[in-house]
């Protein structure tokens, strides 16, 4: 009897909590819109001075290109813009946010320009349409030729506001071009504009890399009869040979702290990976194998180096720990894996794999999992390199008969050609933020 009683009590007690009403719990595990609706108005002339619509047009074109590449946005069609788009008002209170909200936009770019005495001033604002807040405001002053640079710089700022990390659009890309008939080193903007020839060796220049700390490049050149490693200061143009050992001095890559250079030397009749000081002295030999070892790429922490070796038969990617010199194999699929590039974020290693004579770009995690093919279709895509923020990859693609430099997002989407025809352009490298 007693147990019966207690049992009843227990049951009642157990039931009690269920009879209390809760608020409804909901889980929303993905946004309904996976892009940010953004409205971008045309720059309007500010104050006195003649209107120069060409400035607004160029600015808009450059900024749109960068924002499109970012993949973050869904641009609101300017044809739908209402009255507020034609008003210069850049202050929060001057803006009719409801107009923009009606168009479905969540973010708004407004701006104006002024030209005085050959200098251009561009004022820019990024607003949150929903909360009606100013997200970022910038004023840029420069030469008339700086409009593109200003647009890239503001694009970086927009990404900073909306993702927490600055964009890479105001940086530079180094590459090798054969426009003159010889392979020479060039620099260009991230969208392929302003190509500048950096060397005139009239020989073969290959495989550049940017110093992470100085405005300086290293590359390999045959100009002295041997593939030697050169260093070049970008602004002074000063150039010197950094490593001129007999045999190969190729594939130089600055360590993340800029203090050492990993490269391939074959001074002992076989290609091995070495570490050099920035004065060219050998610090350390990292590999010791009779097979081919080339193409070093530093992990962002600077403690490991991915490289290519055919020590197991076919070219594959391996990783060597620069302290213990332990070597682990990274790639197992495919018959020809080369040109590793470690993401500056550290999570992935991009590389190119040849299949049926055609290279495509892949990524893989450091532990060998999660291999993904990023590029498909015609054209051999080689030499992937990361943007300094790890958002994008550049690579060479021989689609259409000659090589050119292409850019895409790190997930393989948004691929587009950036270098102009006629250069047979290859071996891209992305500078740190400029």
């Amino acid at each position: 009897m007693k147990t019966f009683e207690i049992g009843v009590l227990l049951i009642i007690l157990l039931c009690l909590p269920f009879s209390v009403a809760f608020a409804a719990r909901i889980e929303i595990s993905a946004p309904g819109e996976q892009t940010i609706p953004l409205a971008m108005t045309r720059l309007l002339p500010m104050g006195v001075g003649a209107a120069q619509p060409a400035i607004a047009t160029e600015f808009q074109q450059v900024l749109l290109g960068d924002l499109d590449l970012s993949g973050l946005f869904d641009m609101v069609d300017p044809a739908a813009f209402l009255g507020d788009a034609d008003k210069l008002g850049l202050r929060r209170n001057d803006i009719d946010f409801n107009q923009w909200r009606m168009l479905g936009s969540e973010a708004l770019i407004k701006g104006g320009y002024r030209v005085t005495a050959g200098r251009v001033t561009i004022e820019l604002r990024l607003f949150d349409v929903i909360t009606q807040r100013l997200l970022t405001g910038r004023r840029y002053v420069g030469k008339l030729t700086d409009v593109r640079k200003i647009a890239h710089t503001f694009a970086d700022q927009i990404l900073k506001s909306l993702t927490g990390e600055k964009g890479p659009f105001a940086s530079k890309i180094a590459y090798i071009s054969k426009r003159t008939g010889y392979k020479e080193l060039y620099l260009m903007d991230v969208d392929g504009y302003h190509p500048i020839q950096m060397t005139n060796h009239r020989s073969i220049v290959l495989n550049p890399d940017f110093s992470p700390t100085r405005k300086e490049l290293i590359f390999t050149s045959y100009s002295k009869g041997n593939p030697d490693l050169f260093r070049k200061e970008i602004y002074t143009g000063r150039e010197s040979r950094l490593s001129l050992k007999p045999g190969l001095n190729i594939g130089g890559r600055y360590s993340p702290d800029g203090r050492e250079i990993a490269l391939t030397l074959s001074k002992d009749k076989n290609s091995e990976i070495y570490l050099l000081g920035t004065d060219g002295t050998i610090h350390r030999r990292l590999t010791n194998h009779y097979s081919i070892d080339v193409d070093p790429s530093w992990s962002p922490k600077g403690n490991k180096i991915a490289f290519v070796s055919d020590r197991r038969g076919n070219p594959n990617i391996f990783i060597v720990d620069i302290h213990s010199l332990d070597v682990t194999r990274l790639t197992f699929e495919g018959k020809y894996n080369a040109t590793p590039a470690w993401s500056p974020k550290g999570d992935k290693i991009a590389f190119s794999r040849m299949d049926n004579g055609v290279f495509n770009v892949f990524t893989i995690r450091e532990d060998g999992t999660d291999e993904r093919q990023l590029t498909f279709g015609k054209g051999s895509k080689e030499h992937p390199r990361w943007s300094p923020d790890g958002r994008f990859l550049i690579y060479s693609n021989d689609l259409g008969g000659e090589k050119s430099i292409w850019i895409m997002r790190a997930d393989g989407t948004g691929g587009r050609k950036i270098s102009a025809r006629g250069g047979n352009d290859s071996h891209p490298a992305w500078s740190d933020r400029w």
């Binding site: 009897m1 007693k2 019966f4 009843v8 049951i11 009642i12 039931c15 269920f18 009879s19 009403a21 809760f22 608020a23 409804a24 719990r25 909901i26 889980e27 929303i28 595990s29 993905a30 946004p31 309904g32 819109e33 996976q34 892009t35 940010i36 609706p37 970012s70 993949g71 973050l72 946005f73 969540e106 949150d128 929903i130 909360t131 909306l162 993702t163 927490g164 958002r391 997002r409 997930d411």
Partner: protein, 314 residues
């Protein structure tokens, strides 16, 4: 102590002697009923823990007791008028309509509505005659493979139906004996198969044919649940790009809506720590200040925002 208790118990027994135990039992049962009832659609509590992954058509009405149906179905169908009223007889008439819907989710076995099914079983017996053997078991009958699983899904067949089937079977067998022509039977078989296939494709018909309701709806109102509606509404207002994502952020927000569907206040119970993510939620909530339809009552929602489904896909 012991003894005093016993004494009291005896005292009580003496007082309530006759039906006390029964009463106690009823009381217990009644208490048990509370939580059970709580989870039935009779109590449209806002307690649905795991919102299923269906999409909700936001033009659908929000109701307290959504019927079985599809939340994304268009409310074009004015059938509701035709169907629901015949409430008086709960089992037979009403059910037929919802039946075609359930193909996707679990067909809510709760209801013995499978009336429409009995029709397919009938054809089955016919093919069986082939084996000439008098099979007592109707279940094994559906062997005729050609007739897709369609018949099988109807395990909801009741005893009565079974016996009915058996009776029919007997009739059939008798009839079959009369049938001399094998050819005729074959023709019939083919026809049956065709019919079965046709019917099966019918059942798997697209959502346009489905009534507006919830897949797990057990009520009788055409419409969708408030939770499903709010989930869909706020999700639609939320813009966030995978290129903004860093890690796997998760935040929890409490929102309080009045019966007009107006947001009275909200509060972050847990921020994600990722300001870009949290700001996108503020935008989504700000855009959801007014729902497009009133709620059945004022309600509070705890919404967990994360990117599980988006990041998985990439």
């Amino acid at each position: 102590m012991e003894s005093s208790r016993k004494q009291r118990w005896q005292q009580l027994q003496s007082v309530f002697e006759p039906g006390f135990k029964q009463m106690l039992l009823i009381s217990v049962l009644l208490h048990l009923l509370v939580p059970i009832l709580y989870y039935t659609p009779l109590f449209p509590k806002h307690e649905i823990e795991k919102p299923p992954v269906y999409r909700v058509n936001l033009v659908n009405k929000i109701v307290k007791n959504p019927q079985a149906g599809r939340p994304e179905a268009a409310p074009v169908k004015q059938k509701p008028a035709v169907k629901p009223k015949p409430k008086p007889e709960p089992k037979p008439a009403v059910k037929p309509k919802p039946v075609p819907i359930p193909p996707k989710p679990k067909p809510v076995p709760v209801k013995p509505k499978p009336e429409p099914k009995p029709i397919p079983p009938k054809p089955k017996p016919e093919p069986k005659p082939e084996p000439v053997k008098p099979k007592p078991e109707p279940k094994s009958a559906p062997k005729p493979a050609p007739v897709k699983k369609k018949p099988q899904p109807k395990p909801a067949v009741s005893k009565a139906q079974e016996s009915a089937l058996e009776a029919r079977l007997k009739k059939m067998r008798a009839a079959q004996k009369q049938k001399a022509s094998e050819q005729a039977r074959k023709d019939k078989l083919a026809a049956l198969r065709a019919a079965a296939i046709a019917e099966s494709s019918n059942i798997e018909s697209p959502t346009t044919d489905a009534p507006v309701g919830m897949m797990d709806g057990k009520g009788d109102q055409a419409g969708v649940s408030a939770v499903a509606f709010v989930q869909e509404f706020i999700q639609k207002q939320w813009s966030f790009s995978k290129y903004q994502a860093a890690g796997s952020p998760e935040a929890e927000v409490k929102l309080f809506y009045n019966a007009h569907g107006t947001l009275l206040h909200y509060k972050f119970l847990k921020k994600s720590g990722n300001s870009v993510f949290d700001e996108s939620l503020i935008r989504a909530i700000t855009k959801s200040r007014q729902l497009s339809q009133p709620l059945p009552e004022s309600m509070e929602f705890h919404i967990i925002f994360n990117l599980k489904d988006m990041l998985d896909k990439s």
